[in-house]
């Protein structure tokens, strides 16, 4: 499996660190609902098909990426940077 890092090009997935489901979003700091925090930390949709997931290019540019990948075929559909570096990409 290879991921196309927007900065480094096509690289083996071993260079990346898997960070899990990208659709799980941390609740706002002033959100005190236990259910919301529980859902963020523990509940996953675990789809068979297209999965949005976070990878970090640990052995490369260290950018966090949102990767769209099919969990049944391992086909990688897109790799997009997230976080502060995302803005610098033309």
């Amino acid at each position: 499996m290879r991921l196309t890092c927007p900065y480094c090009g096509s690289r083996d997935h071993q260079e990346f660190t898997y960070r899990g489901d990208a659709t799980a979003v941390r609740p706002a700091l002033n959100n005190t609902s236990i259910d919301d925090h529980n859902a963020y930390i523990f509940d996953r949709s675990n789809p068979d098909g297209v999965h949005q997931e976070l990878w970090n290019h640990t052995s490369g540019c260290r950018t966090h990426l949102v990767v769209e990948r099919n969990t049944v075929t391992h086909e990688v559909l897109s790799c997009k940077p997230v976080g502060p570096f995302a803005r610098k990409l033309k």
């Binding site: 083996d12 997935h13 899990g20 236990i34 996953r44 949709s45 675990n46 049944v72």
Partner: protein, 422 residues
């Protein structure tokens, strides 16, 4: 037909014409007391204990493929109970108790072989954690022995215990009562024993939906030989391992504390007996044992990303085989016979779920990560109790679905809610 040495002799004298199939191939009835989705080890053992312990024989086990085609036929066959946390320890030791008698219970030779499971230690610090775990095991009544380097060398002559090894061996923790069993025989044995008690095992029957009355599950929609059907039941148990996400979505449960990943396993060409125990590498993650045919059966970590593909990637091959050779340098020239992948239902704390719910009329058995085989007897025993009594047994009362929200995860490794690290 009861299996025995006498039966073999009698049938041999009659030209082996009288053997009958080990289980029937019944047509599904429209109604059962209990449906178990998933004809793997856990589903079949659940059906067997429902019939034998609780007297509930009007049971159907629904299997989408042929019997033994899932993870029960894909694992590395290790049976052990060397756990640290008391909830795990008590549960897996119950499983060991059932394993010891299983061939007699089922009248089927499951080839349970308590040859010992040896966890190597490569640093003094690791010896300390092994000593701690060994003591925890002893407190729970599980035998354990802390071995020094020379004892390890005597037990496992092929192992590189020299000071020049990449990760020199300091010692190890041995669970002498642990070992292996024949995985296919476990599926076949439970199937045959359950079938003899009246359980219908419906192979090549896929669940494609659930029948609901309001929120309550009242049965399943099936696809069998290209035809849709309905089977109703008062109680529906789900024991589908890596497919938990898929099946639960059909019931309308979109999110669970589970992610599916792929675990690869490997077997080498056959050689003469060389590894007497199940042996695990302490400086990485590798477990190896020798099958009765002589092949070395081994595996390591999961491929750490979400996956429903029953195949993995090559970096795991490299990692696993290099660890094997670091332990046993003389295996470097062995050829791999086969490798394969199976889908693991990795839970958020690395421990299983055996519970009532999450919907009325439904029961869930999931989250086995990559340790489900050794749990097969106790999993079925506890799940049958939970289904029959609508409440868990003491052995599985900690394995709930809401333990995460309650703040009571059973995190054996202390890795946190990261399924790919368990």
């Amino acid at each position: 037909m009861r299996y025995s040495a006498f039966a073999i002799l009698k049938n041999a004298l009659r030209g082996n014409r009288d053997w009958t199939p080990a289980w029937r191939k019944p047509e599904p009835r429209s109604n059962y007391d209990v449906i178990i989705i998933g004809g793997g080890g856990h589903g079949l053992s659940t059906a067997f204990y429902l019939a034998s312990v609780h007297g509930i024989t009007n049971v159907a086990v629904i299997e989408k493929g042929y019997l033994g085609s899932g993870n029960v036929g894909r694992n590395t066959t290790i049976v052990r109970s060397n756990y640290r946390l008391s909830a795990n320890s008590a549960f897996y030791e119950k499983s060991m108790d059932l394993w010891r008698e299983l061939s007699q219970t089922l009248n089927y030779n499951v080839m349970f072989s308590p040859r010992g499971v040896l966890n190597l230690a490569h640093t003094p610090g690791q010896m300390d954690t092994h000593a701690e775990r060994g003591n925890q095991m002893r407190l729970m009544g599980v035998r354990s022995e802390l071995l020094d380097r020379d004892q390890v060398a005597r037990l496992n002559p092929g192992l590189d215990v020299s000071g020049s090894a990449r990760f020199p061996v300091h010692g190890g923790l041995l669970q002498p009562d642990a070992g292996n069993a024949r995985h296919d025989a476990v599926a076949w044995g439970y199937a045959r024993a359950a079938d003899q008690l009246g359980v219908d095992i419906l192979e090549n029957t896929e669940v494609v939906g659930f029948l609901k009355e309001g929120d309550k599950i009242v049965g399943v929609e099936t696809m069998r030989h290209g035809e849709r059907g309905e089977i109703r039941a008062r109680k529906t148990g789900v024991a589908v391992a890596g497919n938990t996400g898929r099946v639960m979505k059909m019931a309308g449960v979109d999110k669970l504390p589970i992610e599916s990943t792929v675990l690869q396993a490997f077997v080498s060409e056959s050689v003469k007996p060389i590894i007497p125990t199940v042996t695990t590498f302490g400086a990485g993650h590798l477990y190896v044992s020798q099958s009765d045919k002589g092949g070395l059966v081994f595996g390591g970590n999961i491929d750490y990303y979400n996956s429903y593909a029953q195949r993995g990637n090559l970096p795991v091959w490299e990692e696993v085989t290099s660890e094997l050779i670091a332990m046993f340098p003389n295996f470097a020239r062995l050829r791999l016979l086969r490798s394969w992948g199976g889908i693991m239902d990795m839970s958020m704390d690395g421990s299983p779920i055996i519970t009532t719910g999450p919907l009325p009329g439904m029961y869930l058995n999931a989250g086995w990560c990559y340790g489900g085989f050794k749990a097969t007897p106790a999993s079925g025993w506890c799940f049958a109790h939970t289904i029959a009594n609508d409440k868990p047994h003491a052995f599985n009362e900690a394995f709930t679905l809401d333990r995460f929200k309650q703040g009571n995860p059973i995190d054996e490794l202390g890795a946190g809610p990261t399924p790919w690290y368990h």
